[in-house]
Symmetry: C2
Subunit: 364 residues, 2 copies
DNA sequence: TTCCCGTTGGCAAGCGCTTTCCGGAAGTAG
DNA sequence: CTACTTCCGGAAAGCGCTTGCCAACGGGAA
């Protein structure tokens, strides 16, 4: 038994499909009370569920929002996804999920798949890369996005614009002031830390990571400190762990216990919380203690990680809000705004907050 | 400029739409080489992207897998989602996400929405409830699922079958031996813990929680221990926190320091890791230390929480695998199995592993 | 050379819904 | 009572794609 169709409902109600459609699936024209009631009853008794595909085909719009993330199990993306999901609900749309692992090629593929499904909008949450080997991939991704926008699609990108994207309509960016916030973190840290700083960054060319590294260095400079050495590794926990191992070795090798003890201690800034946790785990596995032997700070303020001890100093980012904003930016223009706001309305800029906790306390 | 259509491609290539369709979108009949090449070129030059909605309508299948979770930002669900996503990719399908907060009404709605989109299958990851107030909701959910299955849909549920679902075709359950594993955890814990046990459970009627509580009690009994008191609160971190606060008060009020010190200490079993972390945070905020003042154990072995200190004793569940299995169960039957296997093939049962760590070490 | 079968491309009929357009009925004014 | 507007239901034309069926064609066997 196949699902029942609008036509069947119409027949049962003794009206034309056109009328049934007008009654059941929102239309400007509202048929008469009695008829409407008959149709509704018929639909009810048949357990009618409109075929969204057919509706989409007829109206050329699908009620779908495509979301692209690196990895849905990463709490950073999961938090954003929650926001997206929420906003989608407001718009009475469903979320189509694609996880890409971060490669531009996979992202392009995902965009194409969303386009094929005629998704009304696409939210790209992954961090952009500008590595040389991603040049072609980025170009293709940009081309795909441009095409999607030209066909009326709405795109929102979190963080950075896609390298090379030129669409001017339907293309929104939720900017995250990574650089500025990292700078603020650096200056605040410098305020109560005398030793040297080390940065544990993601692979070079990862825009988010690069921004945070750059901002941190600038902050140090403003505070009159010398620039931090930068270690590069994978942008996830295991990358942080690896870097942590290396740093642990150095710390243990360094002379300590003399008069210059405080100055010799390291403050590690990992460009995201997950890496910071990895680094902390590595230090700990080497017998080092935080913040006694080294301080450590992260970025993002991942919720699940807030119970970590010692509490991690970090920069709080309103992840959920970011997802919501991005999604709303792609949605229908909020009503009641005529000509007042600029045409290319900024989709919103979010802000974060430096949050110093136990992991960077100077007192050992 | 709207996206180009098959017809346009066909015209450009000088063939009929039928032929173009056969060339571009997999069909049994393969047109001749030269024609195929012409069509492919035309498609390429137009940047043709097939309209999945139209395809779906014509073939009545959408290439969509619906996933229902309580909250995508909860690491438990995020991990399952990753597995689902992976398996979906294997099947060349996309994942449609619905987060429901756990209510049967919302779940029913989500199922209906998936049905409307003609999702090929649905994976329900949320924990089932059998509370009295959910009776009606569950019944409606079951009815909706039955209808979906009768129309050829495939459903996989993680954990427990939906209460009242009767579909026998296309309805799969990935069983998680919560009860047994909780039992094993209890006996192992009882092996090196002399004090009393307390269980921090979710609201009564949450099947997953109930199973774990029951199993734990059974395990205690097998170990010759007296049953644990059960505290109920929300099935998330804040629920754990609340319970933790209450327990902290008791612990502090209890007489200690006498000869019976060890026997007076509490071992807390929270029915999931997130609650356990919450409880631990509460204890800590009250100045208590783990495992010195109280031991604590969780369930699930959430990846993000593994770096938590003291390391949390728990039961490892192969969350990703569960997602994968559930999804595969709904997919096309693996080829090459004729009559050999039973008709109603079991979709797979997973197993977990008790993992004792620092948080329940007896030595203070 | 003739007949028959196997291929291969095209025609056309949907898939289930929306929406434009049209005709008739009802309502209003003159 | 007639003329004009308004409103409302229905007929029909798609939306973009798939697929069953048919006709034409080519080749091998007789």
């Amino acid at each position: 038994m196949a699902a029942s169709t609008l036509t069947e409902v119409a027949r049962l109600a003794g009206v034309s499909p056109a009328t049934a459609s007008r009654v059941l699936n929102g239309s400007a024209r509202k048929p008469g009370q009695d008829i409407a009631e008959r149709v509704r009853q018929a639909a009810e008794s048949l357990g009618y569920i409109p075929n969204a595909q057919a509706q989409g085909l007829a109206k050329s719009s699908s009620g779908l929002i495509g979301l692209i993330v690196h990895d849905i199990a990463d709490p950073y993306f999961a938090a954003i996804a929650r926001g997206v999901q929420e906003a989608a609900r407001e718009q009475r749309k469903m979320v189509l999920l694609a996880t890409t692992g971060g490669g531009p090629a996979e992202e392009r593929e995902a965009v194409a798949a969303f386009a094929a499904r005629r998704a009304d909008s696409i939210v790209i949450a992954g961090s952009r890369s500008c590595r040389a080997e991603d040049r072609d991939g980025n170009a293709e991704l940009a081309a795909e996005l441009d095409r999607y926008c030209r066909n009326g699609g709405q795109v929102a990108v979190v963080g950075h614009p896609v390298v090379g994207a030129t669409a001017d309509e339907g293309y929104h960016v939720v900017r995250v002031p990574n650089q500025e916030l990292a700078g603020r973190l650096a200056t605040e840290l410098a305020g109560n830390w005398d030793g040297d700083f080390v940065v544990v960054g993601g692979p070079e060319g990862l825009l988010t990571s690069d921004d945070r590294v750059r901002g941190f260095q600038e902050g140090l400079e403003r505070a009159g400190r010398r620039p931090a050495e930068v270690l590069r590794s994978a942008f996830n926990r295991s990358g942080g762990y690896d870097a942590g191992l290396e740093l642990a070795a150095r710390i243990k090798a360094a002379p300590h216990g003399d008069g210059d003890a405080a100055a010799g201690k390291l403050c590690i800034f990992a460009v995201n919380d997950v890496m910071a946790i990895g680094a902390a785990a590595a230090l700990r596995s080497e017998g080092l203690r935080i913040p006694r032997d080294a301080a450590i700070a992260g970025f993002d303020d991942i919720e699940t990680l807030r119970d970590f001890r010692p509490a991690l100093s970090t920069v709080r980012l309103p992840l959920e809000e970011i997802g919501r904003l991005a999604t709303r930016a792609t949605g229908p223009r909020p009503a009641g705004e005529n000509g007042d706001t600029a045409e290319g309305v900024s989709p919103g800029e979010v802000t974060g907050e430096v949050t110093l906790r136990r992991s960077t306390e100077a007192a050992a």
